[in-house]
């Protein structure tokens, strides 16, 4: 049968096999969907809008008409013969690169000094004079710059071949703690050596290509981690890795993503991938293990022990990366099974250990990682927030992508909102969820436990009842169907609110538990560094109003954006970086929150808005009764 698929203004017709699900049909139309949970109907990220025809879902049949479109999960729906079936793909459900995942780290390195260096091989004028071997010839060249040098077999054979070639005039190496690791020989006329920084997230992989000599960033590229087809969170990846051949399969998948990105980077920069000679990889511990082909099993259960924290240096060839085969690949050390190289990178680029006083570093993702430095101890922990702030698992949640509502303000009888790209609203991203909770609470339309005042909302025409798992659930309308991108209203239900409250509670309780262990409170902090993409777009005051972050003066919060990628870049251009990584490894004290008595009570207390003990947010609540000082959303005003 023929099914019509629409996206934006475009339509494509696909011949579908009987029983084929809509996500497969979309993929055949060359518009693959964002099936994060592997098509199990769990993640809600492949939602489409059924425009016409009969469809069969998991439990029931559905009929859609243009006048009555229905939202449904593509992976759970099959079109039925007999009627012309048509569905539309919201931009938010497509698996494509998002402009917003890209590498925006707010910290730039003060000085750039490539860790990859090269020196001319001086062939002796008198061939019979010293030195006594080719490698020693190369060594003498390197020792002009480093105290010590190591030649692996690859470097030795490269130099053997290189010296035989008249054009091989240089030897190159990377430096780590004053020691040189010989790379190989290279023609002086070859392209400028390039470096690659890679941040492997559970969901997205972000890369940057730099010219090593100058530190100039030539291109950025990011894409979904192809491992998504094997589950959305680290725990499900570990489960997948435990199946026979699982590790190799997962390694192959992420390698595919990285290699594709490399190709894109090189095309857009007009450079050759063979010139990439130094790669620095960061990411959470499970992703780093899988990228290197190491089993992450130990991280899955008590005592959550990784195979290795300080990864050995290796050659790209061994990993099958599509860069210069002899390129050195380094992975930023992980601090524990749940605190990966991405946090080490965040901490390095933020200069955490150089700071005086007491500092928190918080990276909010599916896992909220928290580091607390008080000048002596670096306590660190991971708190499982779940994906609510990444837009997953909510009825209208979506990534921070075109059409996502990212800012909200309650205007007495409707929401005023801002969307990414100024498009019609298609869903809510994490920052909008935080705004919605804060605004509803302040307007008295939501109580401290997250229940909506449905009567009051109804009087303003902003209440709806949706069905969830067969039960009616109250929801507030953020954007009505007339205004929205897909003809279905953008809403936030009480179930969504409960999910978001769990996520914020996990993070807040993690922060408070670490502070408590150190015997201090938020007032004792000199500052809080917020890393990660979500933090970058968060309305900080609202984050405090709902009790996601502790109450702090706004000027004490530093937002650094993608510090993980920033830290990986630093690994390419700061000879002091590896020593700093090692220092972090030495001082890190991983804390298992479950073993802290205080955590559970704090988690339950933090489920309330802002908290069971609102006096902790007293200053903020007091100033809320005064006229607001923060600027209102700047663009598009829509009336509900």
């Amino acid at each position: 049968m023929i099914v019509t698929v629409r996206l934006g203004g475009e339509r494509r017709e696909v011949v579908a096999d009987p029983g084929e699900t809509l996500d497969r049909i979309a993929a055949r139309a060359d518009w693959p969907l964002n099936t994060v949970c592997g098509g199990r109907g769990r993640c809600g990220r492949c939602a489409v809008v059924l425009q016409s025809g009969h469809f069969r879902g998991r439990n029931a049949e559905l009929t859609a008409e243009p006048s009555h479109p229905r939202r449904a999960l593509a992976c759970q729906m099959t079109p039925l013969e007999g009627t012309p079936c048509e569905f539309e793909i919201p931009a938010s459900s497509r698996r494509i690169e998002s402009g917003r995942m890209v590498a925006d780290c707010a910290i730039s390195l003060r000085v750039w000094k490539s860790r990859l260096q090269r020196a001319p091989l001086r062939r002796p004028a008198d061939p019979l004079g010293s030195p006594t071997s080719d490698v020693e010839l190369a060594r003498d060249a390197i020792l002009q710059y480093a105290d010590d040098v190591e030649f692996g077999i690859e470097a030795v054979s490269e130099i053997a071949m290189g010296l035989g070639r008249p054009d091989a005039s240089d030897v190159w190496w990377i430096e780590r703690d004053g020691r040189a690791f010989a790379g190989g020989a290279r023609a002086a006329t070859a392209g400028q050596p390039l470096g690659l920084a890679v941040d492997i997230g559970t969901t997205t992989v972000v890369t940057a290509l730099v010219e090593l000599a100058s530190g100039r960033q030539l291109a950025n590229a990011s894409d979904y981690n192809a491992q998504l087809s094997r589950g959305a969170d680290v725990a499900s990846r570990i489960t997948a890795a435990e199946t026979p051949g699982g590790v190799a399969e997962l390694q192959r998948l992420v390698r595919g993503t990285i290699n594709e990105l490399i190709q894109r980077l090189c095309v857009s920069a007009g450079r050759s991938a063979d010139d990439i000679l130094h790669v620095v990889i960061t990411g959470n511990t499970v992703m780093q293990h899988l990228a290197l082909g190491l089993p992450p099993h130990g991280i899955g259960r008590i005592p959550f022990r990784p195979v290795v924290r300080r990864y050995p240096l290796l050659r790209a060839e061994r990993l099958g990366l599509a860069v210069g085969p002899l390129a050195w690949v380094e992975a930023v050390p992980s601090l524990s099974g749940h605190i990966g190289g991405d946090l080490t990178a965040d901490a390095t680029v933020a200069g955490l250990l150089q700071r005086r006083g007491r500092w928190l570093l918080v990276d909010i993702g599916t896992n909220g990682e928290i580091l607390f430095w008080d000048g002596h101890h670096l306590r660190c922990t991971a708190t499982a927030a779940g994906p609510a702030f990444e837009g997953a698992g909510l009825s209208c949640g979506m990534r921070a992508d075109e059409g996502a509502v990212e800012r909200l303000r309650w205007r007495g009888d409707h929401f005023e909102y801002e969307t990414i790209g100024g498009a019609r609203p298609a869903g809510l991203c994490g920052s909008a969820v935080v705004d919605a909770l804060a605004e509803l609470a302040q307007a008295g339309l939501m109580d401290s436990t997250g229940r909506l005042d449905t009567a009051a909302l109804d009087r303003r025409g902003a209440a709806v009842v949706i069905r969830q798992a067969g039960h009616p659930v109250h929801a507030v309308v953020i954007a009505p169907s007339e205004a929205s991108a897909h003809g279905v209203p953008v809403i936030l239900s009480e179930a969504d609110i409960a999910e978001a409250l769990k996520a914020k509670a996990a993070i807040h309780a993690g922060i408070m538990t670490l502070l408590h262990l150190a015997g201090c409170g938020p007032a004792d902090l000199d500052g809080l560094i917020l890393a990660g993409g979500f933090g970058r777009h968060l309305h900080l005051r609202n984050a405090m109003r709902i009790g996601l972050l502790p109450e702090l003066p706004l000027e004490c919060i530093e937002v650094i954006g993608n510090g993980a990628l920033g830290g990986a870049l630093q690994g390419l251009g700061d000879p002091a970086a590896p020593a700093e990584w090692d220092r972090l490894l030495r001082v890190a004290e991983p804390i298992e929150l479950n073993l802290c008595d205080k955590f559970e009570t704090e988690f339950v207390d933090s489920l309330l808005v802002p908290h069971a003990d609102p006096t902790r947010f007293a200053r903020l609540l007091a100033s809320d009764s005064a006229p607001p000082t923060q600027r209102p959303p700047s663009t598009s005003r829509h009336i509900v």
């Binding site: 259960r301 039960h471 009480e494 409250l501 479950n594």
Partner: protein, 209 residues
């Protein structure tokens, strides 16, 4: 005795302070702890559990109600023990080996206590041996909780261990657990949430609700 409305409301609304004050006052005037528990507190908590199952309320409201109930039970438990109040049955509960998530498990344990069961709480990271010992000590049902997909398979290990041991019921739950999984490993029951946990224990042990 009729149900104590203020106490009922305090539990359902999660007002821990009020629960404590009311209980102290009532006990001082000589009210029977067993009656306060069975006529008011258990029905209040049961109602909370059911509203949670019907998605009328969500985790935050449920958790604070549970905490208020817990505070009340803390006051009543020693008095009940003294008065020889008979539990309906004995069960043991624990989060399986490898897993330390216990908030959901504690809630289930609390609901069961609230419903009149004697609960042996084995804590987290519980292996077969510990479950075995609890059964030896009289537990008629083994309740297991797991929140990680990596630790769920351990439930099968425990279920296999008790298979054939007559009378011991295996009941499982936790966010990643489904009825299908329960069937697959041969568990006798599965509960989606804390409200359902009480119902499934009652059903498995053949007790009227």
């Amino acid at each position: 005795m009729a149900r104590h409305e203020a106490l009922y409301a305090a539990i359902a609304g999660g007002n821990k302070g009020a629960v404590e004050t009311i209980l102290q006052q009532e006990l001082a005037t000589g009210r029977s702890p067993a009656e306060l528990l069975t006529e008011t507190m258990i029905p209040a908590m049961r109602d909370v559990g059911e509203r949670y199952s019907r998605k009328e309320i969500f985790i935050p409201q449920m958790m604070i109600a549970a905490r208020a109930m817990d505070a009340g039970l803390r006051i009543l438990e020693p008095l009940l023990a003294k008065s020889g109040h008979e539990p309906r049955a004995t069960i043991c509960i624990g989060t399986v080996k490898g897993d330390l998530h216990d908030i959901g498990k504690n809630l289930v344990a609390m609901m069961l206590k609230g419903a009149g069961f004697h609960v042996i709480d084995l804590g987290t990271n519980v292996d077969v041996t510990k479950f075995e010992k609890a059964v030896h000590d009289g537990a008629q049902a083994v309740l297991m909780s797991a929140l990680l997909t990596t630790t769920m398979p351990y439930m099968k290990t425990v279920a296999d261990h008790f298979r054939g041991e007559k009378g011991v019921k295996i009941i499982i739950g936790g966010a990643p657990i489904t009825q299908e999984y329960a069937d697959e490993i041969g568990a006798h029951g599965y509960g989606e949430d804390a409200g359902a946990a009480v119902r499934v224990v009652e059903r498995c042990l053949g007790l009227a609700g």
